[in-house]
Amino acid sequence: MKHKINWGAIYLVIVFIILYLPILYLVGFSFSSGKTMEKYQGFSWTHYQTLLQDTRMITIVINTLIVALLSALLATIIGTMGALAIKRTKNAMRNTLLSFNNVLMVSPDVIIGASFLILFTVIGMKLGFWSVLLSHIAFSIPIVVLMVLPKIDELSPTLLDAAADLGASPWQSLTRVMLPAIAPGIMSGYFMAFTYSLDDFAVTFFVTGNGFSTLSVEIYSRARQGIDLEINALSTLMFLVSLALVIGYYFISKHGGSRKNQIVTVKEGDVQ
């Protein structure tokens, strides 16, 4: 028994080394005073200083954050409304709506990017900030729906009846009972939408014009020109941001998760 567990552990360690080696490698060389990722040249903050003085890069970081924050916010609003609407539909209609919802979830990024590019051209929209923002909203909506809908489904169907029974108008039921009760799902949805936007490369690459760029697109164009340790410095910072986001997300979903368990417990209690 013990013997077997050891093999499993060794295997897992190897998998984790493969998963993390490239990331640590990037981070490590960001502190190298050299110019390549070939030989570590001794500790230095040089690349971070370059990064901080790179106004083009800083503008792009700000643009990326604005797009991510705004698109996540709007996607969360529309997606939550969509989830509430889907909840009110019955079997066949619900399945149809969910299928439509999932189209963008399973579609390859190139297809989304290419088809959005055609769409913006057809309606005569100039490529740039607005086309990128709209695209990010569009591809983030389904994940919000998928994060919020289970929370709504999880709620006891009598919960809104109870609110009405106690005198709440439909609007009061929504704002005082429904939305607070599904808040963990809405928060998760926002976080997921935010990271989707931050991470996106392919769709943005298609729908951004010459004047506007996001981090992913910028990294791509710099990476095509070869190694630049400024990117390593940038990735270290992004790694830290991701780490913070993961911790934040887990804090939220754990909070939501425990609520979920609580509700499940209630349901199990009912069966007994």
């Binding site: 006891s156 109870a162 609110a163 029974d165 106690l166 069966v271």
Partner: protein, 368 residues
Amino acid sequence: MTNQVIEFRHVSKQYDDNLVLRDINFTIEAGKFYTLLGPSGSGKTTILRIIAGFDDATSGDVIFDGQRINDIPANQRQVNTVFQDYALFPHMNVAENVAFGLKIKRIPKEEIAKRVQDALHMVQLDGYGEREITEMSGGQRQRVAIARAIVNRPKVLLLDEALSALDHKLRVEMQAELRALQRRLGITFVFVTHDQGEALAMSDQIFIINDGMIQQSGTPVDIYDEPLNHFVADFIGESNIVPGIMKKDFLVNINGHDFECVDAGMKPNEKVEAVLRPEDLDITTVDQGKLVATVDTQLFRGVDYQIMVHDEEGHEWKINSIHKTKVGEKVGITFDPEDIHIMRYHETEAAFDARLDSYEGDDEEDER
């Protein structure tokens, strides 16, 4: 008549092609404990939801306090509900849950605080106000749900299978408490359950519902002693239901034997069903028995033995007795004329009452 709170006039409810309520008529008087009793899918919860306003009647009138309320939304009705799964708001603590209805009505803060405290006291949850719902046990959640409803001082409290999520011991405890609470508050309770024991124990009046219709209504004792039809007899308590022929008034033939009984008013030689409760059947010696039977099985149940026997014609009988027998033993079965209750096929409740009146006069009125 003056203190009736709720009246259903020819209420029907249809979901798609499914008729779940068929022409329901009843009145509910103020200050009494009513139970809607029936198996799942019988339509009892639908009646409750129509009273609360969560569902609309397809046709018919729902009268509340003399007003037709079919078109009044749930949030404007003077009834409150205790839900089967309690439907406590997960994002609010106990006090916030109880205060919800009052806050919606914009009642001043101090008064809310006081009424919440009173309500929690009423359900014996003093000092639990700041607890999260998740910290409460099933029985405590049940009490929170009750407090949240009664704090609004409804005219009618609706309870939808309110005790079914509790374990047996707690359920029995809560039955007594609910009954006491209803007496203390003096408001009408309408309780929905599929548990006949619960219904018999708590109610002033029971409506037996099956197949979207009220099968029988009356006090627990009336319904137990004089079930109207096969369904009611089978659903309430344990019973032996056997086909028979009403030879004439006060004489019924069951399986070829004539027995004296106390029912009358049928046509001569009418086919009927006879109900004999297992606890009314006594075991005696073979020569003293009205029927002779052989014991098949015997189960000890704590308070009594459940004995299954078959008579000489091979018909099975269920007997509950505090005396022990032996499996395989020949015994006599005896019972009194009033232990036989005769049911006519397809008799309506009104016809049943009329027939009873025709030969019993008004000596039935001594119940309560």
